[in-house]
């Protein structure tokens, strides 16, 4: 088995979830690396999109900004933010990736603030950016994040981007498009999905080297467990080679 780090594993897992012929809006960093890896392995016909307007670029290197000129280098389209967001709203975008400071059992995410006073936050983060939009409007949202019980918390300070809100049918009842929502939470320890009915987070795979206790101990809410939990398939040799040599040769992301 190849030697790899947690970030490399997470990127490989995310890449495998992006099927050929799909569309995905990515940000900078790990999600972009996952999409690039997916293209260079099993999904040559994956369309990578950036919220500022770039579509299907031939990326010469990792973008620093989702609006910089790399995001539409030799692209098929350099359009606008409303165009990309409306393409999502129309139901033409399959996947997106989100990150944040806190996540709860329904996949709701906080990237706005820590504290209770919105007007004078204890710690302020950038806010939604396009996160709420993409989480609302793309079919499936994935999260790649390190797992600990501060980040995976019972009560997040601020719901910036919607997961399944309070579970059950509440997301659809709130007005968000039918059939959308969080799909996979990929951590250094495990891969989680969501229960079909309660919409609570449910462990599907356990990463090599971890066990159920590690995973529950590093989560501030009670996790559900799939009936048959398998070990996460570790990165293949060819995935690692492409990731390291072609996708992120300067180790900007996998070197962290």
């Amino acid at each position: 088995m190849a030697d790899y780090n947690a970030m490399e594993l997470m990127i490989c897992v995310a890449a495998r979830n992006l099927e050929n012929g799909a569309t995905v809006v990515v940000g900078t960093g790990a999600p972009c690396a996952a999409a690039m890896l997916s293209q260079k392995t099993h999904s040559p016909n994956l369309t990578i999109m950036f919220e500022a307007g770039g579509v299907a670029p031939i990326l010469p290197s990792m973008p620093i900004s989702v609006g910089d000129s790399r995001t539409f280098h030799k692209a098929v389209l350099a359009s606008s933010m409303p165009d990309i967001m409306e393409t999502c709203q129309r139901g033409m975008v399959d996947y997106t990736f989100l990150g944040g400071a806190q996540i709860d059992m329904y996949g709701n995410i906080n990237s706005t603030m820590i504290g209770t006073n919105h007007a004078k936050p204890k710690v302020r983060f950038p806010g939604s950016g396009g996160a709420n939009d993409l989480a609302s409007l793309c079919w499936r949202t994935m999260v790649m994040t390190p797992q600990d019980s501060k980040r995976f918390t019972d009560k997040i300070d601020f719901i910036t981007s919607p997961g399944y809100l309070s579970g059950g049918n509440s997301r659809y009842e709130a007005g968000l498009p039918k059939g959308t929502g969080p799909y996979r939470i990929i951590t250094n320890m495990a891969i989680m999905g969501f229960d079909d009915t309660s919409k609570r987070m449910k462990v599907l795979n356990i990463n090599p080297g971890y066990n159920r206790t590690d995973i529950q101990d590093n989560c501030g809410f009670e996790l559900l467990w799939a009936d048959r939990i398998t070990e996460t398939e570790p990165p293949h040799e060819d995935e690692l080679r492409i990731l390291r040599e072609e996708v992120d040769p300067h180790r900007y992301i996998i070197g962290r």
């Binding site: 620093i64 606008s80 933010m81 709420n132």
Partner: protein, 332 residues
């Protein structure tokens, strides 16, 4: 289909601008649509077009295709109590917060510089409680501008419902009159002033932009007063040679200023890449408020104009380096 008896929520925070379409029309009725020479200086444009207390918005995407010279000049002229559209606001907002120009902030994305990290100074300002904050999202601010560009007072959309982003916004929930579906309604945003940096335009303000255009076409239409800075002025004949390419038409534009390298230290697609060293310098110096004040004074307040600022940061030689990075020829 949603139940009609459902409760319709509304965001609890303040709306910093008037979405009324008839009031905006009254302004636009009197805005000049004459195709006349609008070339001027940054100094003059900011003096004439920005007033204390204005709601302002900046084109481009934070550190990509931004009108840096106008941002600097707003600080230099000490404009105060501005409301600002924080629509992926990164280096543009760093500058305006450095100049202490802002007291109301519509937030989609603020204080961060994307993959580069967070701005300590902008973060201190936003955490201080001195700036009024209302939450939105990137799409939401795009659509608020689009509503205004369309001459409306709102647009419906399908995002942000059910979240605290909605709760701390000034949006409202509505029902579709045809399907009964619940939608979010976003109030039109008609900024008092916008500055947009473009690749080329004629003296009347007919402009070309290449690469992702973010929300700039809607921004140019939605805003009451617009200054365009441009890498280069081209002839009106050149505009007329390819009218399909005209991105901003003259009637949106109040002033045109030729500012080569005008997006520096930001990226200008097809022209030059961002100066990542210079931006890192900002992020580092901002950690110490006192050091940052000196740096900001030296770089912006005490420089006579944008050219002096460029000289201070390496001048043409530096620009050529950034051109090479943009064109992927720097390692050859």
């Amino acid at each position: 289909m949603m139940n009609k008896a459902v409760e319709l929520k509304q965001g609890q925070n303040q709306l910093f601008s008037d979405p009324d379409a008839d009031k905006a029309r009254e302004f636009f009725r009197n805005k000049s649509r004459a195709m006349v020479n609008k070339v001027t200086t940054v100094d003059d444009a900011v003096k004439r077009l920005v007033k204390d207390g204005d709601y302002i918005a900046i084109g481009g995407f934070g550190a990509n295709r931004i009108p840096t010279a106008v941002l600097h000049e707003i600080c230099r002229q000490g404009k105060k109590n501005l409301a600002f559209a924080g629509h992926t606001a990164t280096h543009d907002m760093q500058i305006l917060v450095g100049g202490e120009c802002i007291d109301r902030l519509d937030i989609a994305y603020v204080i961060g510089l994307e993959a580069r990290g967070l701005s300590p100074n902008a973060r201190r300002a936003v955490e201080s409680g001195k700036i009024k904050l209302t939450e939105w999202t990137n799409a939401t601010l795009s659509w608020r501008l689009k509503a205004a560009a369309m001459g409306l007072s709102y647009l419906p959309a399908r995002n942000i419902m059910g979240t605290d982003t909605f709760r701390y916004s000034a949006a409202k929930e509505i029902l579709c009159p045809f399907t009964g579906q619940k939608f979010a309604a976003f109030p039109a945003l008609y900024p008092d002033f916008a500055a947009i940096h473009v690749h080329e335009c004629d003296v009347y303000g007919n402009a070309h932009v290449f690469g992702s255009t973010v929300s700039d076409q809607d921004l140019a239409k939605a805003s009451k007063r617009v200054v365009i800075t441009t890498e280069r002025i081209i002839s009106n004949d050149e505009i007329r040679r390819q009218p399909t390419t005209t991105f901003i038409p003259f009637w949106c534009v109040d002033a045109v200023v030729e500012v080569p390298y005008g997006s520096y230290p930001g990226n200008m697609p097809y022209e030059y890449f961002s100066d990542e060293e210079h931006i890192r310098q900002w992020l580092k110096i901002e950690r110490d408020p006192e050091e940052f004040r000196k740096f900001f004074k030296n770089q912006i307040l005490d420089t006579k104009n944008f050219y002096e600022y460029l000289e201070l940061n390496g001048g043409i030689a530096r620009m050529l380096k950034l051109r090479a990075i943009e064109h992927l020829t720097h390692n050859r």
